[in-house]
Structures are given as structure tokens and as C-alpha cells.
């Protein structure tokens, strides 16, 4: 499947700048796990990479120590850095020093000028232990061949999964993330062909706390492991009438 991820969160940037930070929403659950920092060009990965990132609790004015799992994960093009909040702290009762994020506090994720000076501000809400439920998702079906097919979710979803989550028959898809990653807009080069088409979820998705439709992020021993949660919509595409 050929995919093109269109980013439209921030204006075009100069070379070496941060062009997007996901999640784009400014309210995150206390058990939030991942930020994705997208750069405008291939970036260096210094040995002390995480010395150039910080998380500041604006409510207390203090830097959160030990906030990150300090393993650099870059994409192939070295344009996206995954910043993982330490799972030993974000998981329950692991004992790495308590949650990184406090409910009700405001934070700033800061990247210094060695990489590309930028920051993301957010506040923290309650833990999210509820799995995404495809039965609550809705769609906006295309009225013409060039119209996007939009899938709306019941909460912001993790940005790294969404480009690969859906297919419509065997058509190549262009996938654009919607506001706060609460939706995706699907189009296909040349427009939808006439006839019946099937939209299906083919890969997993996760919410900001890594819960997926199939399983909760944290599972007590003895609880059910997984169950299939299909998402399928059949729609009819017609040729333009004019």
C-alpha cells in the first residue's frame, strides 16, 4: 500500500526546524507515553541526545528528572524522533519513582537549540485506561470521487499508527491526520473508482496511553488477552454527475 502522510499542523519550516510534535492535543492523560518530534530535514543524533530534551513542570517550576527512556529511536530518514516517557514510571507500580506527569499540572516539553529550539506545552488529565472502541467511530463518506473519506475517532489516537491502519480495497491511499489526531482523511490518487468499496481497519491503532482496541496497555494477570475488534464500512462511489 502506497501511503503519503500529509502534515498540516504547522506552517512550512526552515531547514533543521521542528515541523510537528505529536500528539498535537494540549491535554494528555497522566499515563501518556510517546511524543513524536518531526524535523524538516535529516538530523544528527548526538551521544548526549537526551541532554538536549527536558520536561518542565510549569506548575512547580521544576524540571522532571528521569522523565525519558533514553534510547534514541529515529525513523529511517532521521526526521522523526520518538521520545518515550519512561515506561518504568508511566506503568503502574513498577517503582521507578512515581509517575512522570501529575494530574492538573502544566508541562513544557523543551528541545534546545542544539537540535532545533522548540517546545510543546500541555496540561495533564486523568489516566486513560479505556480502550479505543471502533464501534464508536464514525465516517464521512465521499460524495464524489475526489472527496475525502473521513474516519472520526472517539479520542486522539497515536500518530504513528494511523497512516497504516486503514485500507480501501487495494487502492493506494493518501492519509492526512485530522485535528488532534481525532480523525484521518483518506483519499486515493485519481479519485475513488465507481462501485462498491470496502473501508477496513487492517492494522492496530493505539490511544495516547497505548491502549488498543484489542487490548489494554496494562493488564492484570488472568485478564483476557485480546479480542478482534473489526472496523468495516462498505460505501458506494459514483462518477461525478457533471
Amino acid at each position: 500500500m502506497s501511503l503519503l502522510l500529509s502534515l498540516f499542523l504547522l506552517a512550512p519550516a526552515l531547514a533543521g526546524e521542528v515541523v510537528a510534535i505529536y500528539p498535537s492535543t494540549d491535554v494528555l492523560p497522566q499515563n501518556h507515553l510517546r511524543f513524536y518530534v518531526d524535523f524538516s530535514e535529516r538530523m544528527p543524533s548526538p551521544r548526549d541526545l537526551f541532554a538536549h530534551l527536558s520536561l518542565v513542570d510549569e506548575t512547580t517550576g521544576e524540571t522532571v528528572e528521569g522523565a525519558f527512556a533514553e534510547t534514541p529511536i529515529w525513523n529511517r530518514a532521521r526526521t522523526r524522533l520518538t521520545v518515550l516517557l519512561h515506561p518504568g514510571r508511566q506503568k503502574t507500580d513498577v517503582g521507578f519513582g512515581g509517575k512522570v506527569l501529575e494530574v492538573g499540572h502544566a508541562y513544557t516539553l523543551r528541545i534546545d537549540e542544539t537540535l532545533a529550539a522548540t517546545e510543546k506545552r500541555f496540561t495533564v488529565g486523568p489516566m486513560d485506561r479505556i480502550q479505543p472502541d471502533p464501534e464508536t467511530w464514525s465516517t464521512q463518506l465521499p460524495e464524489g470521487p475526489e472527496d475525502p473519506l473521513v474516519v472520526f475517532f472517539d479520542e486522539p489516537l497515536d500518530a504513528s499508527y494511523l497512516p497504516y491502519a486503514f485500507e480501501v480495497g487495494d487502492l493506494p491511499l493518501d492519509v492526512a491526520l485530522g485535528h488532534e489526531e481525532r480523525s484521518v482523511r483518506l483519499t486515493t490518487p485519481g479519485g475513488w473508482p465507481a462501485g462498491e468499496l470496502d473501508l477496513r481497519r487492517v492494522e492496530t491503532v493505539e490511544d495516547l496511553a497505548a491502549n488498543s482496541p484489542e487490548r489494554a496497555f496494562e493488564r492484570r494477570a488472568g485478564t483476557s488477552v485480546s479480542k478482534p475488534m473489526p472496523f468495516e464500512v462498505r460505501f458506494t462511489s459514483s462518477l461525478p454527475t457533471r
Binding site: L33, R34, P44, S45, P46, R47, W74, R78, Y161
Partner: protein, 376 residues
């Protein structure tokens, strides 16, 4: 001494080793061992590495390289199969970043060392390194006089095996172990969510496809199943029950996976967690000295320093839900007697076995050293 003389003689008659290749010298005092076949349909020329995330040695001097940027494992036949008695003469290497920088003609601050391992056949130390801007990835040997020397990978025979990747953006190979006819690699993707292992039988044919299995493990500290647990350190071992992999994570559990189960090709493999270092600790690397009941599994652990573990600690009932947690805390609890402190490891970020009694340690300061293995 004999090997030094052999090399010197070779230089005198104009047969100097090719620049960039290990300065391998035959040991004519011993008959050449019969070596197993590890790669089939080998290729030559530029292997096109997109990254060198991790390196380890398998049988017969074969170097396994994790090329996560291309979702591949690449196996090189180094030909470095003869014990070099001078291989550990590099004690005064000083800072490895400086040596790699010198070899590449760049400042040490531009270099990154990604992994350190030792070829068990020759005793030579190998280093995976890169430039920080990602424009260069390569493998170096540490010469007996303490220099880093680039290995001419394009001059070696190699094979590559791709593994599937969901998110299409490249992956990172965090660990590789070769054991008992199999190679197992831990792989993580951009989202960090999945804990996945690639398992391949040896010999490996160029162009083979590796299959991924997602792992699920029981995490004793917080009594939960883990799937979001990328593996960051592994070792391999064989006992009377067969070959198995020990794996550890960003958090502190150590999990046992049977090779037989990994090789079955199932979508999910459940590991057994006999042991946990407790909250606030992370295994940085493992190294195993010896075999069978006499073996010691060493672990360099953050916020602890190091431990020496009896392999018998990894023998455990598979009904993990009913097991009481075994958490290492140096408290004197009899349940913990199979784990000892091993302070010489000093939170090294890489460990490798130099020989029967010594370990190579690498620290994030760039320091590389050989140390006698901590005794129990």
C-alpha cells in the same frame, strides 16, 4: 609473539594485510578446525548498510549486524577464525570515541559507538560506530596497539535477511544472539510499542525472509502482562532443556524464551519471568561465562552496578500467574542467594566475553577496558 613475527615477516615480503581488514594471521601450530556453514548464496560488494544498530558474533567468525534502517539482518563472513594471542594487547586504547574519530579523520565529538563485541574465535574486539549525523555507519576492530581500524565490509562475503515492519519508517535492532543453530534478534519500531523477536535458523540464505513474533511476558513487580516492553538486553544459554534466550527490558524483569517456541513461527510467544531486579533498575547488558552448571550470567545494571546470576535461577515453573515475585534486593533473603553483587561491572553499557575469565567493558564516557570477571 609468534603471531607478531608472522605478521612482521609478511610485511617484509610485501604481503601486508589489505587496509581496513582485520590483520589476521594463521596459527600454523594448530590444524584448521572444521567450520560450520553459516551463510548460503553469499554476496559481495557494498552491503548498503543503512545503520549498524547492534553487532554480535555467531559461529565460525560470522558477524551479525542489525541494519534496522533497512529492516534487515546482515551476516558477514569475516574470515577472522584464528586465535590472535595479541588481540587483548590494546589495554591502553584510552577513549574509544577518540580512536574511532582518528580512524575516520573526524573529531571524537562527531562519533557514536553503538555496540562492542568480541569475536570468540580470534579474541578480537569489534566496535559498531557511526557519525552523529548518520552519514556513516561502520564496524571497526581494535588493533593490538590500541587503534580502531575500519573493517572493509564490502570486501567480505555477506547475506541479508529482511523482516516485516508495520509502520514503514524503519526499525531498530536492539539485540542479537546467535545460539545452537539459530539467530534471534530483538526489534522495535517507531512507536516502541511492540516487543518483537526475529528468529532464523542457521545457515542463512541470502534473501530469506525473517518472521516476527510478538512477545508477551509476565511482569512480576506490578503483576501484569507486558507487551509494551521493547527488549534492550539479551543473552543466550543452553541447558538440559535446550537452548533459550534471556531478555531484559527498559524495566527490570528478566524473561526466558525457549528457542524452540520462538522458532515455531507463532504470532505471539509467551515468556517466563523467573527474576526481576526490582524498581528503578535496568539491565544495560549481559555476558555469559562458562557453560552448564558452572556458568555465570553477568548483568550490568543501572542504579546497581552489576550482578552475577546462577543460570539455575532461570529454571522456573511456567505457571507464572501463580508464582511469587522474585525480586533482587541484596536483602539477604534466601530466595535471592543465586544472585551476587558484581561491582566490577560498574554500570558498563556494553559487556563482552574476552575469554574464559575476563570481560570487556565499555562505558558511555568512551572508556574501554578488560577486567577479570567478578567472582561469586
Amino acid at each position: 609473539m609468534h603471531l607478531r613475527f608472522t605478521l612482521f615477516a609478511a610485511l617484509l615480503i610485501g604481503c601486508s594485510p589489505t587496509q581496513g581488514e582485520p590483520d589476521i594471521a594463521p596459527n600454523d601450530a594448530e590444524p584448521a578446525p572444521e567450520l560450520p556453514t553459516v551463510i548460503l548464496d553469499p554476496q559481495t560488494g557494498d552491503p548498503g548498510l543503512g545503520s549498524v544498530d547492534h553487532i554480535t558474533f555467531g559461529p565460525a567468525g560470522h558477524l551479525f549486524v542489525g541494519d534496522g534502517a533497512n529492516d534487515r539482518l546482515v551476516v558477514f563472513s569475516t574470515g577472522d577464525v584464528t586465535l590472535d594471542e595479541t588481540a587483548d594487547d590494546w589495554e591502553k586504547i584510552g577513549n574509544l570515541y577518540v580512536q574511532v574519530g582518528d580512524a575516520l579523520g573526524v573529531d571524537q565529538s562527531d562519533t557514536v559507538v553503538l555496540d562492542v563485541t568480541v569475536n570468540p574465535m580470534s579474541g578480537r574486539t569489534y566496535v559498531a560506530a557511526a557519525l552523529q549525523d548518520g552519514s556513516y555507519y561502520g564496524v571497526f576492530t581494535v588493533t593490538s596497539d590500541g587503534k580502531a581500524q575500519a573493517v572493509d565490509l564490502a570486501g567480505l562475503e555477506w547475506v541479508a535477511v529482511e523482516y516485516p515492519e508495520v509502520q514503514g519508517a524503519g526499525s531498530v535492532v536492539t539485540e542479537i544472539e546467535a545460539t545452537s543453530g539459530w539467530v534471534v534478534a530483538a526489534v522495535t519500531e517507531q512507536s516502541w510499542t511492540a516487543s518483537t523477536l526475529v528468529t532464523l535458523p542457521l545457515p542463512i540464505t541470502h534473501g530469506d525472509a525473517g518472521s516476527l513474533t510478538t512477545t508477551r511476558t509476565y511482569h512480576r513487580v506490578h503483576t501484569q502482562w507486558e507487551t509494551f516492553a521493547p527488549i534492550t538486553a539479551m543473552f543466550s544459554f543452553e541447558d538440559d532443556d535446550g537452548a533459550w534466550i534471556g531478555a531484559s527490558y527498559q524495566c527490570a524483569p528478566v524473561v526466558r524464551f525457549e528457542i524452540e517456541e520462538l522458532a515455531a513461527g507463532n504470532a505471539e510467544t509467551i515468556g517466563v519471568t523467573p527474576f526481576d531486579y526490582g524498581g528503578g533498575r535496568q539491565v544495560l547488558d549481559f555476558a555469559v561465562l562458562g557453560t552448564g552448571d558452572d556458568a555465570q550470567v553477568f548483568a550490568s545494571v543501572s542504579n546497581l552496578g552489576g550482578t552475577s546470576i546462577e543460570p539455575s535461577l532461570f529454571l522456573t515453573d511456567k505457571n507464572v500467574d501463580e508464582q511469587a515475585p522474585v525480586v533482587f534486593d541484596f536483602s539477604g533473603n534466601p530466595d535471592h542467594k543465586k544472585v551476587d553483587n558484581a561491582t566490577k561491572l560498574d554500570e558498563a553499557i556494553d559487556l563482552a566475553v574476552q575469554d574464559e575469565t575476563r570481560l570487556v567493558r565499555f562505558f558511555n564516557t568512551g572508556r574501554l577496558s578488560i577486567v577479570d570477571a567478578p567472582s561469586r
